[in-house]
Subunit: 694 residues, 2 copies
């Protein structure tokens, strides 16, 4: 009565009753009895323990490393003897000599069960290993990549029973790896016969496991056992920059990250000017498509060089981007996105071959582009949703991805809403008199003394405040060149806290404010932040026009969020997540003083860093996550701000600092906002009365 | 109680009990009761009657034409009144004015049921219409193409409920046509938005319905109703010629046929010399791949020009070819096919995009290559099997595709065997002293007078025999230039019948044969067929070396067939099918006198014409046939002649004319083979004795 004749449930039952040695795996806790001589890998497979192997137990790949434990285990009710596993064998010795095996480790395919044993499967020996992310609140990435490596030994051709080499290879993969009947890429068909013969009928293949569009197929073949790895790319395709993360598709590790400027910038700084370029020039759309794809290929070269790998080992790539970049990257005219009703060509996720987009990766590499949420809320927002998982949050979370266009998501396990709001480029330092991109020399942090009303600041590249000793020396290289986005938010919020600017957003005169740095500048007042003219540097000021730009930008952001809160029928949110590179540098307190974001406990306002990039990486490393975000995006309720009557009302209210109507009770426990009014038309009291009357 | 709430079985039951008018469709015989006012197309759909429609019943496409019948129908038990259908309406009038409707026809979507009615669905209104083939014995082709046209009206975008244009298009196709959730080709995504708007949200799409490799997808989009058709190509890729048939994918009609020489000829006339070229030259294989693909593209231009259509309307292509051409076309080195064990890279059918093979058809056109049977029995043989269907034959059929390499199939419903045999190029006129390709001026038919032993013949291009009046004038243009393959078979068979050549294949002298046309030619004798030297033409003779070449070729063919008969355990076959262009011109009697084919009633030896090309056309027009031949090929038992000991024995026996050992009893009832022996070594009698002794 061979075990082979039992089904697997019966087999496990028999095993549980057996007098054979007991094998207990940790951390899974799975256990079963196995006959003496059973390889640990075999026991693991039969119990469904996640123990990796590329070579199928032939002692070649070393992926199945395990750590046996010896001694008393009262918890498990076993005592493990020193000889519970077979002795260290020649295969393990050879591997150890060649590459070194960590102390206490054995190869699961070589060590066989001799007695009761407790076996730990270290994280790196698991197929579905977790990739640890830096932030505690973010969920872990479980490895489940699109493409995997398999080693097989293939039957040789037989004239008496003729069959194609591919058919025998596919049969071997079915038998050894339980894979379905695979297709082979044409490139594989071309190289397969020589690989099989060169490898002595032993080969390693890369298999793309398939999705809704592509059937599972062999996309690469190496003679013998391939000792290297394969790679995937997670790309965040922004209007301004393109950032890529090269990941090891076996370990999930990020092996290189790199970025370039989006070459489309020469067709327009912001998205709408690119849409216009496409409308004005018959070949404009195609030119922009060519430019972004060429840029992408340049990035691939750069990142592969940095990692010291061959670009053709990159077999999968995931892209996230806003709708306009999405269309232009795919070669779709973005015309419809420039006008109501802002119809996307498609909002669904897209699976393609990389060469359909002229991308120079592996010849059969796949491309996955996350779904778009709506005409203004793109695959980048979907990636943020994947990374921050509002649909899995018990408390109500507001996620704001701050950029030229802000994507705003509000939700919890009950429902998720999304919209976008046209914040414009002010938060990136554009359209601000002394504004600049975040770069060494840019002012990024500002404090204004409540008594002297004089500023001090930090610039990117130095930890010293401008009034600290050694500051001049520290900035000698870069100088003080301007104010970056987060610096602008801080300086305006500090000006509001110091009473230099009032609620409606007017900068007072030196007399009104008591600050010597206020000065008349045309018909309004400006505030001097830094005077470098003595050293040939700039004079850095905040003008009232700057304030107006930031007021419009933050009002757009806030009113989008507020609109979603209306739709959710709530007055407050439990927490706020600031996504995007810019979001990472914003001071929550200052953002709330400005009224950019709704009132919330400051410790509940966190940064998610480049959440879109993280979402891309999750989708790259875990194909199940792709199905999840596709389902989530279907369920997200899209709100189009342009047609919501209340948006305008919220916008007007939110133009004040922090807001003309809405209270910020939590903020008021942290800071005191002086009740000043610099309106010269009616004086302090009059202005105050007018504001109250609204 | 709306009908809508019933399931379809219930609905049909209710309908059968109803007092509503009875609608009877012919030829299907399907019938049901429908409420007054039901459009005929709706009734047909609900009953599952095969009535075509591209526009979905909007009176645009006219595909749903039907012919109502009036009067008494005792067979059906109904009387059809003159007003059983609604009167001719404006839509029908407009269509008739514009394009003309055949007398008695109505549009099924416009005419509504008013009383009991008998409706005939003409063949051209059926989706799964039968394409009539020329030969009676061949099975019909039922239309079931890979790619179809659908007209839909798509919902406009709505800012309140944003969705991609593609998603609304796909939804419309699901709702109107019961199609699955379709993918869209990238080219469709690029052109869709403008097509939707240009067509006023009405479009026609071409949908590839999917297969094992490709998910169903939209591959083309036209604004509004597309009045044209789409095309497919069936291509027979031979070593010497490439022949293509352009078919209308809606009607199945062949709209143009064209052929070119295979440009690979410059690398070698026969397959083995091409395999050698690939082995001797590092870039040889790639050069040959490039050459055949370029040739293919040239053929496409030629055939599209002939048909007066745009090449980009060709959306599907099916290829059949021998294994070497198969590999070289796919870009696979044919090296392994040149040596034992003759391992194919793959024997399975292949689905690709045309652009993967650098073919210039529609940008998303699909390519299907039939499966190969074995290393020497290719997709062309599979196509022959599809066309001639030995697996569906009750009597035992031997199918022989005569070429440089003969593919031989023997089978019936019980089982099917296949092998190939290296006949060499003699049957194509090569390696024959006066041999030439079949072309005007070539001798194709020969008779030798049994008394005078003088020949007469016909040449290609004239119906007159050479001894008939007007022959000289008729051939003045072409002359008499040589003997083509079928002519060689006839002249040698006639020489054998006239006793000019003996069983072992020796030509007798003028004295031995009594023919003045026999003359000594070196160490053997030759036979003069035509002396054109007086007019500056050639002297056309049959030399003993020519006889030897044909003996080897026909022995290879026969011994392959005989080997399959051994494996089938039979001594005779019920019928013989000669496939291939050459097979179409062979005289069955002469072939049997030569002993090329097994003994069989002459009326059971038929020609299938270009069966490989027909098989390609079947696979093009009916995707179900692709699944059928894939299954059939899996079941075909492959016999490798090279490793069968009996092959050599059969070959030696079959070298004699007709055969040294095997009797041809049926043939002997038709002709008398003189018992002559021209062996000069021992004289007539001696030679005869020796032959008997073997």
């Amino acid at each position: 009565m061979g075990h082979r004749q039992l089904n697997s449930a019966q087999e496990l039952w028999v095993r549980s009753m057996s007098n054979d040695p007991l094998v207990i795996f940790t951390p899974s806790g799975k256990r079963g009895h196995f006959p003496v001589g059973t390889p640990v890998l075999t026991a693991a497979r039969q119990l469904g323990v996640d123990l990796d192997s590329v070579c199928g137990g032939r002692g070649i790949c070393s992926k199945c490393q395990i750590t046996p434990s010896y001694g008393e285990f009262p918890k498990h009710g076993v005592t493990v003897a020193e000889d519970a596993l077979s002795p260290w064998n020649a295969v393990e010795q050879r591997y150890d000599d060649k590459r070194g095996l960590k102390a206490g480790r054995r190869l699961g395919c070589q060590a066989t069960v001799q007695g009761d044993i407790v076996i730990d499967v270290p994280a790196e020996s698991q197929v579905h290993k977790q990739v640890v992310r830096k932030r505690a609140e973010a969920r872990d990435i479980v490895m489940n990549p699109s493409t995997r490596l398999y080693y097989v030994e293939v039957a040789e051709p037989d004239m008496h029973d003729p069959s194609g080499d591919l058919e025998r290879l596919v049969t071997a993969l079915q038998n050894d790896w339980d894979l379905p009947a695979l297709e082979a890429d044409l490139s594989v068909l071309r190289s397969m016969q020589s690989a099989l013969r060169k490898g002595g009928w032993k080969v390693t293949v890369a298999v793309h496991l398939g999705d809704a569009v592509f059937s599972p197929r062999i996309i690469h073949i190496w003679p013998g056992f391939y000792e290297g790895t394969i790679y995937g790319l997670a790309v965040d395709l922004g209007s301004t920059t393109i950032a890529g993360h090269l990941c090891d598709l076996q370990t999930g590790e990020v092996v290189a990250s790199s970025g370039i400027m989006n070459p489309q910038i020469r067709f327009g700084e912001d998205l709408m000017s690119r849409v216009s370029y496409g409308m004005m020039n018959p070949t404009g759309s195609d030119e922009m498509t060519r430019a972004v794809r060429e840029g992408m290929n340049a990035l691939f070269v750069q990142i592969a060089t940095e990692a010291g790998i061959d670009r053709s080992l990159i077999m999968d790539a995931v892209f996230v981007c806003n709708p306009v970049m999405h269309h232009l990257f795919l070669g779709i005219d973005a015309y419809e996105l420039g006008q109501a009703p802002f119809a996307l060509a498609t909002s669904e996720a897209i699976s393609l071959r990389a060469n359909e987009l002229d991308l120079n990766l592996h010849s059969a590499a796949r491309v996955y582009i996350l779904p778009c949420i709506a005409g203004h809320v793109g695959a980048d927002a979907a990636a943020v949703a994947l990374s921050e998982a509002p649909d899995k949050s018990d408390d109500l979370v507001l996620i704001v991805d701050v950029g030229t266009n802000a994507e705003i998501i509000l939700g919890n396990t009950e429902k998720v809403l999304a919209c976008s709001s046209p914040t414009g480029p002010a938060f990136e330092g554009a359209q601000i008199s002394s504004g600049q991109r975040a770069a060494p020399g840019a002012i990024e942090h500002v404090q204004i003394d409540p008594v002297t009303k004089l500023p001090r600041f930090q610039v990117i590249g130095s930890e010293l405040w401008s009034d600290e000793e050694g500051f001049e020396a520290a900035i000698a290289q870069t100088g003080v060149t301007g104010i970056c986005g987060s610096g602008i938010i801080e300086v305006i919020a500090e000006m509001r806290l110091a009473g230099i600017v009032d609620g409606p957003g007017l900068i007072g005169s030196a007399e009104q404010t008591g600050s010597p740095n206020c000065f008349q500048d045309g018909r309004t007042n400006s505030y001097l932040l830094y005077d470098g003219t003595a050293n040939g540097g700039p004079m850095i000021t905040v003008t009232n026009t700057d304030i107006r730009q930031i007021q419009m930008a933050k009002a757009a952001l806030y009113s989008g969020a507020r609109l979603l809160m209306d739709k959710f029928d709530v007055d407050k949110v439990d927490r706020v997540v600031l996504a995007g590179a810019f979001g990472a540098h914003i001071s929550p307190k200052h953002a709330m003083v400005l009224g950019m974001i709704p009132d919330a406990p400051l410790d509940k306002v966190t940064s998610a860093g480049n959440a879109a990039g993280t979402g891309a990486r999750i989708a790259l490393l875990n194909t199940q996550a792709r199905r999840e975000i596709e389902a989530t995006v279907h369920k997200i309720h899209k709100v189009e701000t342009a047609i919501e009557p209340r948006f305008q009302e919220h916008f007007v209210n939110a133009s004040a600092i922090p807001n003309a109507v809405e209270p910020f009770p939590i903020l008021e426990t942290v800071v005191t906002l002086p009740e000043v009014n610099h309106n010269t038309g009616g004086g302090g009291e009059g202005g105050r009365r007018r504001r109250r009357a609204r």
